[in-house]
Amino acid sequence: MLSRHADCAFWIGRYIERAEATARMIDVHYHFGLESPLVGRALTWEAILAISGQKKKFNQRYQEINERNILHFFAFDQNNSNSILNCVRLARENGRAIRDQISSEMWESLNRYYLDYRRWNVDRVISESPFAFFQSVKNGSHLFQGITNRTLMMGETRDFHDAGRFLERADQTARILDVKYHDLLPRFTSEVSIPAPTDPAVVDPFSVGGTVDTHGWTAVLKSVGAFEAFRKTYRQGVTPARVAEFLILNPQFPASVRHSIGRVEGCVRRVSGNRDLSPSNPAERAVGRLYNDLNYLRADEIIASGLHEFLETVEKRCAEIGFAIGATYLKY
């Protein structure tokens, strides 16, 4: 297939996933508030800005950090290249550029996603329902992905699309976890490992294992759609270590870093047809190496060496995988 077409497919995958992840990231704030008023206080809008690493960009254009401005910045700002509006718009533009390559159902879904999204604005979100808004974004992404699954030929276009989609997902899961870890455990510096779960009857609600902590981590799980799956996996309860293990290493959870990176590897291997253990190009090397690490690492090792450091490395290596796929296949 044309390198430019592969590039478009890859970025459709990324943008659609990114739109959903951004919606989830803001949605988690509302979840926090719902879970417990205490938690609501623990997480401020500032923290959301910190997650995305876009505080500076935000401050350049907005006077005040408040719900309206944050919503506008992340969801509707035309000048924020990662706003949901821009993600959906760019996914659609990429879809338009390869509309002959993808199924017409896929194009129609991208087009409708965008047109429906344009009917939202900050006022409507606030007055109507943030929940309905975030749900509509998630549904838009899910619908497109489902249509893609059902209608797009198994082949290179699909592999590049999926590579983009799962690489973005691995990256976003790592990010959400990283930031929540910081928000919820502000007193821990990165050198200090997370203590083992403590007695639930602990008094200080803000301490590890306290009410805020439990509710906070529950909200993190809910924000990535993992709460029920987590419950089925760990019946002992929510602790930071278990949440981290689940979101990073669980081989069955579809948004875990390990599962997502495994999918990326499957895609790049199918494209090259290489069945050898050793990689045949830089893309396979980068993704295979990370996947192997995730396959052999244990949760306690990650936590002992510092969760934040680990997640930062994962984010960096996701970026490297993106570059390697670009250099190997997508240059035109």
Partner: protein, 503 residues
């Protein structure tokens, strides 16, 4: 309540024009069934179907962007749901005439880029041809497969006050609109499935297959499985939807200039598995932008070296280079002479009488009768560079005439033709609007295929004669009726399984 009982045709005014559907005594015979159907419909019902059609277009992204709007508002291309119907006998006449015309145009192009006999023998002034802006001097002597230059032709037909079909112009470069022809049909089959069952409408859905077969047949010799691509200027081109649509329908790659490169006079496309040779390019980029080494050096849309690859016969371009000299509006008056000269036949289709600014006596007439004439710049399209004398103010006319006097070769004038009208749904009832017809003509190595019908364009603004989409035009589905109800079956709808096996 009172409205409910009114027919959509009540108070319909033919306005003294030739009306496609209605005469003084009611509907023409080939419109009979349609007329009955539409008469039985309330305006609510018709509007609901129009809205359904618009929504379909919106969702499929068959829209254009309203410029100057920061929000980037998109609107569906206006489709009027009342089809235009052409009876079988009329179509047979048009088919013969258009085929004759495109054969002559191809022979003309081969001639002017080789011996140029027609210029020596006299029927066409040499000066007009060699000074035409789209005459490609550096292309003289080059050979093209099958001597076919125009693979896809879109000739515009109009009907005058008597209903006589006349060729208004030929589009021999990169004619567009065929996707709207196909989409309009698709929409009508969805919105009015019943109408197709009652009328035997000839299908048009094999256009992409015929085009692809033709393109493949022109591939350089020895290329067993030719690689055909469609070259587009990109997503910001107003016809991008059509480019993507056709590539998808033909199952070929849609490429941009930056996807291609030339090596050793061969064209390659950059793929995830390295460069791959390209054999045939259906290009939707004008000559001027095709190759920065030969034409406009600043063009970023084209492919450096592609013209040499073409001259070497390693790649085929459709349409060929230099076809613009054949649809130059100053050459147009000579097409009947071409037909007589090359084919030894009398032209089947009428044209529109044309005055050439280049010709001294015509120029004088154009000045004296400007108020009665339609002026056109010879190499503009899309309804740009026009002056409609009868609708223009004295200042507009004198300003325009100054331009004409500055460069007379660049202008022609024609009498204003009272274009035929067709009923269109406007503000909850039918009103007559002027229309034209662009049939699509495909030239293979030894055959000419004309899709039955074409794109009927509508000047949706009341009283307007300008049908171009850039000037507020819309379009209609165009039905060519089969000879007999039983012979032709509509194939656009879904096929049903035959349950009984017994032959």
């Amino acid at each position: 309540m009172q409205n409910e009982s009114l027919s959509l045709f009540d108070a319909y005014d033919r306005g003294g024009f030739f009306d496609e559907m209605l005469t003084e005594d009611g509907p023409r015979p080939h419109y009979q069934k349609l007329y009955q159907n539409l008469s039985a419909m309330s305006h609510h019902e018709f509007r609901a179907r129009t809205e359904l059609a618009d929504l379909t277009l919106m969702n499929q992204g068959i829209t254009f962007t309203v410029y100057g709007d920061e929000e980037g508002t998109e609107k569906p291309f206006p489709v009027d749901l009342v089809p235009r119907i052409i009876p079988a006998s009329e179509w047979a006449h048009l088919e013969r005439g258009l085929g004759q015309r495109v054969r002559a145009l191809n022979l003309f192009l081969h001639d002017v880029y080789h011996e140029a006999k027609i210029l020596s023998d006299g029927p066409i002034p040499r000066e007009l041809v060699v000074n035409a802006p789209n005459f490609r001097r550096n292309f003289i002597g080059a050979n093209v497969p099958g001597d076919i230059y125009i693979h896809i032709c879109g000739s515009d037909l109009i009907r005058d006050a008597d209903g006589t079909y006349r060729v208004l112009e030929d589009n021999c470069r990169t004619p567009s609109g065929v996707s709207y022809m196909l989409e309009n049909r698709l929409i009508l089959t969805r919105v009015f499935p019943g109408l197709f069952r009652e009328n035997s409408v000839r299908p048009i859905d094999d256009y992409p297959s015929v085009l692809l077969n033709n393109l493949r047949s022109f591939a350089p010799p020895g290329r067993e499985e030719p690689n055909v691509v469609l070259l587009t200027p990109g997503v910001y081109n107003s016809a991008y939807f059509e480019h993507a649509f056709l590539a998808q329908q033909m199952g070929i790659e849609l490429v941009e200039g930056r996807d291609l490169f030339v090596d050793d006079n061969m064209v390659f496309v950059k793929t995830t598995r390295g460069p791959q040779r390209v054999d045939v390019i259906y290009r939707r980029i004008d000559d001027d932008f095709l190759d920065p080494l030969v034409f406009r050096p600043e063009s970023a849309l084209g492919v450096p070296g592609i013209v040499n690859a073409y001259r070497s016969g390693n790649v085929v371009l459709a349409n060929g280079i230099g076809t613009g000299v054949a649809d130059d509006k100053a050459i147009y008056p000579f097409v009947p002479d071409m037909i007589r000269y090359y084919l030894g036949e009398e032209p089947i289709l009428e044209q529109v009488p044309t005055y050439l600014g280049w010709r001294e006596s015509d120029l004088q007439y154009m000045k004296d009768h400007a108020k009665e004439l339609v002026f056109k710049a010879t190499n503009e399209s899309g309804g740009y560079g026009m002056l409609i004398g009868p609708q223009a103010s004295p200042t507009e006319i004198s300003d325009y005439l100054n331009q004409v006097m500055a460069d007379p070769r660049n202008y022609i004038a024609q009498p204003l033709i009272a274009l035929s009208r067709s009923p269109c749904f406007v503000e909850d009832r039918f009103e007559g609007r002027h229309i034209d017809l662009r049939p699509f003509i495909l030239c293979g190595k030894d055959s000419v295929t004309i899709m039955p019908g074409g794109l009927t364009r509508v000047a949706l603004r009341k009283g307007s004669y300008v049908v171009n989409s850039s000037q507020g035009g819309g379009s209609k589905d165009t039905w060519v009726l089969g000879e007999s109800r039983n012979v032709m079956q509509q194939t656009m709808g879904s096929m049903t399984q035959r349950m009984e096996g017994g032959c």
